[in-house]
């Protein structure tokens, strides 16, 4: 009998800034300049203020169902800041910090969740190729693979980054995208936002694997785990993945460990299924608090500057809210106007009918 090991794997985990705001590893180059860290910090604060505002708007009947991303701001901030301007983002629906960083207007995000397709017609040319928010779970990973294939066929040195949640890794689309990305060595970075919950289903009922990252190993993709509440290590790992993609070295999978500190959406009540003690423990790992502590410890941030930025961020958000609330509803014919490039004559009767409502 011939018996030998024909494949084996290991998955590495990285952390640089621990939950108390202490460095446990050497800082990567970008993080040695405090200005870069302050920029990341300020953006996460802005995203959290935006999120709280959106939830408040929903509670007062001024916004539809909204999926907050409380506690997960570091991952999409890190990813978006690691991307080059002409890279392409294929998000899921909890990457608010990332869209804003890339150049999507906050009022556009509100318009989308406020029931208007205008919210996915991004005005900023910087994001004209980015995909809109994707609701059907994991389906965006295949779109990302298609875009990455287009970039590769056209020999453009650009990368695609796609986000997915822990629940999304159970879907076939995700495996199919990983598999194809591996076969074609696509310039594609998968980032798993592992917040431990898919609505009410905890991670251990989603998978029996030790990590989600190892799902990429089967596709021969560079796969690793990072502390997703550490914006520094998350940005470091994603920057390396983007660099590999640009260099033609193929796809990567980064599993970023975080925690959904909020309900799934404003229509959800996590107290129905989640032990409150768990939230207390997870809140002590908050990504914003720990970076703030670190910046204070190196005398780069203090309570006055924090107050000043809170006020400035609030006014940016309030301004966006005002723009959102002042945006007129689309004409009724808009239902037809973008269905096809030109309206088929078969739809003319219905088009005329909607105008008489």
């Amino acid at each position: 009998m011939v018996e030998k090991v024909v494949a084996k794997f290991e998955i590495k985990y990285r952390q640089i800034l621990d939950q108390h705001g202490n460095l446990v590893e050497k800082l990567p180059e970008f993080a040695q300049n405090p200005a870069n860290l302050i920029e990341l910090y300020k953006h996460m604060v802005l995203a959290r203020i935006f999120d709280a505002k959106a939830v408040a708007l929903q509670r007062t009947g001024k916004l539809g169902t909204y999926p907050a991303s409380l506690g997960q701001e570091a991952i999409s901030t890190a990813a978006a800041s690691a991307m080059h301007a002409n890279d392409i983002l294929c998000p899921y629906y909890r990457d608010t910090a990332g869209y804003i960083w890339r150049g999507v207007k906050m009022e556009e995000i509100l318009l989308y969740w406020g029931g208007s397709e205008l919210g996915s017609n991004y005005a900023n040319p910087a994001v004209k190729e980015d995909l809109p928010i994707c609701v059907p779970i994991a389906s965006q990973t295949l779109h990302a693979a298609g875009i990455a294939l287009a970039l590769k066929i056209r020999q453009q040195q650009r990368a695609v980054l796609t986000f997915i949640g822990d629940g999304g890794t159970s879907r076939g689309d995700f495996y199919e995208a990983l598999n194809f990305a591996g076969v074609r060595k696509l310039p594609l970075v998968f980032v798993i936002n592992n917040n431990h919950w898919a609505i009410s289903v905890p991670l251990e009922q989603q998978t029996a694997t030790a990590t989600l990252a190892q799902k990429g190993v089967a596709a021969n993709i560079h796969s690793e785990v990072v502390d997703g509440n550490d914006v520094i290590v998350t940005k470091q790992a994603i920057s390396e993945a983007i660099a590999r993609a640009h260099a033609g070295a193929g796809p990567s999978l980064i599993e970023a460990i975080t925690y959904r500190m909020c309900d799934h959406t404003t229509a959800d009540d996590a107290s129905r299924y989640r032990n409150p003690d768990e939230l207390v423990i997870e809140k002590s790992k908050d990504p914003i608090l720990r970076l703030g502590k670190y910046l204070e410890s190196i005398k780069q941030w203090d309570i006055d500057r924090d107050k000043e930025w809170q006020a400035a961020a609030n006014s940016l958000v309030n301004n966006a809210v005002e723009n959102y609330l002042n945006t007129a509803a689309q004409p009724l014919t808009s239902m037809f106007d973008f269905l096809y490039a030109t309206l088929p004559s078969a739809l003319k009767t219905q088009y005329d009918m909607v105008q008489t409502r």
Partner: protein, 326 residues
């Protein structure tokens, strides 16, 4: 000009457009070295290379999802699904993304792709290889669903589908892939989408059909002519969006209509046509609208296949009933 089959016409149209437009690519299972299981893509890999004729892993949902990403980049992706029965695995992508990318981004992004698939019965294929579920796709807003009935229609409609800025599902009737030959000018001329084609004028009854069933329908029209009944024959060609104007205009002349399709009867495209005639041409009707269709059963395995599919005799019987009515 030489006479060619439908499958050869498909191949010529693909070749023509790959050559004419560098944004066109082909992908799917076995489309490369093998040239497709029906040989629709034969020779194209050698001519255009592995970046433009791409063999994918065996996953129809992957093929559907990739086409969304390719489409948003302005690539005219022509996806081949090996058989219609396997396209179902990609329906989530087709319904949730392919059909609505333009609409949900208010025109910022679009999906100018073609999804080709062999469909229908009549070739004694294995289970799941003879599906005729075009009505499922025709129900989806934002799609075009196009079905050729001959080599010339296959060539011209496929070119139009590729050049169309929106997603087109292109259903190729396997039964007529090699059934007839016809002279087709390989000059890149497309045929219009969104219109029905009047294949034959007539004054007594309007026969409406598409795809492989048109061959039974045309045979029936010949027989009827010998019996002194002049049947108009309409090839719907694009079943979504549906050109009712042409059908109504014919029925206004004939006063009678028989709709023939291979798909199951209930909620088939024939029901949509009949409903429109009832709504917009009622006063022209001299007799009830009749449908000659497959049964509301699962397509049987091939021993009984022939008894599922409508035949010339079924059409003749239906026509005689409407003629005798008034």
């Amino acid at each position: 000009m030489t006479a060619i089959t439908l499958i050869e016409a498909i191949n010529q149209a693909l070749d023509y457009e790959l050559n004419a437009d560098p944004n066109v690519i082909i992908f799917g299972e076995d489309v490369g070295v093998d040239g497709g299981v029906f040989r629709a893509t034969v020779g194209l890999l050698d001519k255009y290379g592995t970046d433009r004729v791409i063999d994918t892993p065996l996953s129809e949902n992957l093929i559907a999802g990739l086409s969304v990403g390719l489409g948003t980049q302005g690539i005219k992706a022509i996806a081949e699904f090996q058989f219609m029965g396997f396209l179902y695995a990609g329906l989530d992508q087709i319904i949730s993304h392919v059909s609505r990318m333009r609409n949900r981004t208010r025109g910022r992004l679009s999906c100018p792709i073609v999804m080709r698939t062999p469909y229908g019965g009549g070739i004694h294929a294995p289970e799941h290889h003879s599906e005729s579920t075009e009505a499922l796709l025709a129900h989806i807003p934002g799609l075009r669903v196009v079905i050729p009935s001959s080599p010339a229609m296959g060539y011209g409609l496929l070119l139009a589908a590729i050049r169309d800025p929106d997603p087109v599902i292109f259903l190729e009737p396997t039964r007529i892939y090699r059934l007839v030959k016809e002279e087709v000018n390989n000059d890149g001329t497309a045929l219009p989408l969104d219109v029905c084609y009047v294949l034959r004028d007539g004054t007594d009854v309007t026969l409406v059909s598409w795809g492989a069933m048109l061959h039974e329908t045309l045979k029936a029209a010949d027989t009827l002519a010998q019996q002194g009944i002049q049947a108009a024959v309409i090839d719907v060609a694009t079943i979504k969006p549906l050109d009712m104007a042409t059908i109504i205009s014919s029925v206004q002349k004939t006063g009678r209509c028989v709709i023939i399709h291979e798909a199951a009867r209930t909620c088939g495209v024939g029901a949509e046509i009949a409903a429109n005639l009832a709504e917009f041409a009622l006063t022209s009707l001299l007799a009830p609208i009749k449908r000659v269709t497959g049964y509301d059963t699962i397509m049987p395995l091939y021993q009984l296949e022939d008894h599922y599919m409508p035949h010339e005799n079924d059409i003749l019987q239906a026509v005689h009933e409407v003629m005798e009515y008034a």
